[in-house]
């Protein structure tokens, strides 16, 4: 330890302090959040390895053969659901768990006292989610192409705004849980819900594969709406308007609830 002056050239507090520009602050936070996320081993398992394993398993078995449309390969049927699973892992479980522990350790409190502020922190998290999603899409696409995926260019383009809407919806839900429950409860709830939605939430297997009464119920979930919207986009080249409405309603409700009940302290 040296006993030098911490700010030798500073002429004292008369010089006004300013924040870095907004875009620089938000980009810095997005970079920081992305780095934290992809460096965590458990997160990497959730973000990339599990979706890719699921993709391989679905193309190696006949589980989805009942949903194949004319000319569609197994990979073609599997990819839309796998992309939704990626969003679930990223926006919902991943960022939800990270935010829950950030809240527990006072990181949210500290950062909201810096020039970043509360809005900048949320904006940074959203950008980080989108950055991670782009990497996930890329990895899934490379593996899927190798497994026989034949997407049309308009479908790939159309899937991008869809996935952004899905990411917004699940970020809202993840933050709502992270901002209202204890960190350990957040961890448990988000992991259990991830498994439940992945298996029976209409993500990988369309809700129509479930018993009729359950299928009707599940079709109102954001996970099922996301799955349907992506499948309509990739397999039929159409826009599933009812699914988009369901997703939008979930997005609005989850963000309204998050803004109302999220506890920073």
């Amino acid at each position: 330890m040296t006993a030098t002056n911490p700010t030798p050239e500073t002429p004292g507090p008369t010089r006004p302090r300013r924040a870095a520009p907004l875009t620089r602050r938000v980009l810095a936070q997005a970079r920081f959040e992305t780095m934290t996320m992809v460096r965590n081993g458990e997160q990497l398992l959730l973000l990339v390895i599990l979706p890719v394993l699921a993709l391989v398993a679905l193309t190696a078995t006949d589980l989805l053969d009942g949903f194949r449309t004319a000319g569609a390969s197994r990979a073609d049927v599997a990819v839309p659901g796998i992309l939704v699973l990626c969003v679930l892992s990223n926006a919902f479980s991943g960022q939800g768990i990270q935010t829950g522990f950030d809240r527990r350790y006072g990181v949210l409190r500290y950062l909201s006292t810096t020039p970043l502020g509360r809005a900048g922190l949320i904006a940074g998290k959203l950008l980080a989610i989108l950055a991670v999603l782009a990497v996930q899409y890329l990895i899934v696409a490379v593996v899927a192409l190798w497994l026989g995926w034949h997407p049309s260019a308009p479908a790939v383009l159309g899937s991008i705004p869809l996935l952004v809407l899905v990411a917004l919806t699940f970020t809202g839900l993840g933050l709502l849980i992270a901002g209202t429950l204890r960190a350990e409860a957040t961890l448990a709830v988000l992991n259990v819900v991830w498994v439940a939605l992945a298996a029976g939430g209409g993500v990988i297997f369309p809700a129509s594969s479930l018993p009729a009464w359950l299928s009707w119920l599940v079709s109102w979930l954001p996970s099922s709406a996301a799955g349907e919207a992506l499948r309509a986009c990739f397999l039929h080249g159409t826009v599933d308007a009812p699914a988009l409405v369901v997703l939008a309603v979930w997005a609005v409700l989850s963000w309204a609830a998050t803004l109302r009940w999220f506890k920073w302290v």
Partner: protein, 332 residues
């Protein structure tokens, strides 16, 4: 109604009103929840000035943390006003937050990140930050800059949290229990740094439960009790203002003489009528309006018993005595 200049509508302000970096007036914070509402702060007023260290002392639950959180913009007051550098911290713009540094009691550090990365990241939020390497050098962080926060000791985390609070060259610096977990050498280093920042004009607001820290650092002290200010003043004012400025005499004796003193205490005489006393191990503590006569009686007793006290001192009451007096009155 035509708008009037602000100063004509306000009551005469105290002379220092213009220079206060933080001014809290009649702050009330009540937490509504399940069950009874919790009245954490009930009508608290205080000010903190540039170039001064202002300490908030108080037992757990006295309202220190809630007051700080309202001042930092982390809580919205139920009633009353908080002005931080002339603005409302709850709605603070980024440029206002750039002028304020906060060191939280539990650090507020992400556990998986390394201190070096964290400080480099935080420095990107400011237009004119202290370069991270410089800050790490001053606070001796270099040796563990690449160790994840979760593996650092309490004192190391504490230094990283202080560095994070200083990145933006703050005009107002909040320190919540700054010396918790620090070894004596780090504590000395941190205190010197804090005093140097004060001397350069930083407004420093700290909470502590260590009276020695407050006595050594603070220019002005607020003692909080049950959500309001129970006493305030400089340390010198606080220790002399109480109950006719009583003094404290401590006498330390060899073990065998301590026993003799307990068996035949000189303070059974009328002169010691107003003096409170306690004996603990080999040390006798007498508190009250002491004068030379009392000292003479004690030394006379020592002469009679052919002993020399190992230590004998007469001092003003300490800040801790005042604190216990003011904040512990009605404790069960």
């Amino acid at each position: 109604m035509p708008t009037q200049p602000e100063h004509t509508t306000r009551p005469a302000a105290p002379p220092d009103a213009g220079t206060a970096a933080l001014r809290i007036s009649d702050l009330v914070k009540t937490f509504e929840g399940r069950g009874e509402p919790v009245h954490a702060v009930r009508g608290l007023s205080m000010a903190a000035h540039a170039g001064r260290i202002t300490a908030l002392l108080g037992a757990n639950g006295a309202g220190k943390s809630t007051t700080l959180q309202c001042a930092q913009g982390l809580q919205q007051p139920t009633a009353g006003s908080v002005r931080l550098l002339g603005a409302d911290p709850w709605r603070a713009a980024p440029d206002l937050r750039a002028r304020v540094g906060v060191m939280l009691q539990d650090g507020g550090l992400p556990q998986a990140v390394r201190p070096g990365e964290l400080l480099r990241h935080v420095s990107r939020l400011y237009a004119d930050p202290v370069p991270a390497p410089e800050l790490m050098d001053v606070l001796g962080i270099g040796s563990f800059a690449h160790t994840p926060v979760r593996r650092l000791s309490g004192g190391q985390k504490q230094r990283v949290a202080l560095a994070a609070a200083l990145v933006g060259r703050p005009e107002v610096l909040f320190l919540d229990e700054p010396s918790a977990g620090l070894d004596p050498r780090s504590r000395h280093l941190v205190f010197e740094l804090v005093q140097r920042l004060r001397d350069r004009g930083t407004c420093i607001i700290l909470t502590t439960h260590l009276m020695d820290d407050a006595a050594r650092l603070a220019d002005y002290v607020y003692i909080l009790d049950r959500g309001t200010v129970a006493a305030q003043g400089t340390v010198a004012e606080l220790v002399s203002a109480q109950r006719d400025a009583p003094l404290v005499m401590t006498v330390t004796l060899a073990p065998e003489h301590a026993a003799a003193l307990r068996a035949d205490p000189p303070w059974r005489t009328p002169r010691f009528h107003d003096i409170a006393w306690t004996v603990k191990d080999r040390t006798v503590t007498l508190t009250g309006p002491l004068d030379a006569g009392h000292v003479r009686e004690i030394t006379a007793w020592a002469t009679r018993n052919e002993t020399l006290p190992e230590a004998l001192s007469v001092q003003p009451r300490s800040l801790e005595d005042v604190f216990l007096d003011v904040s512990g009155r009605d404790l069960p």
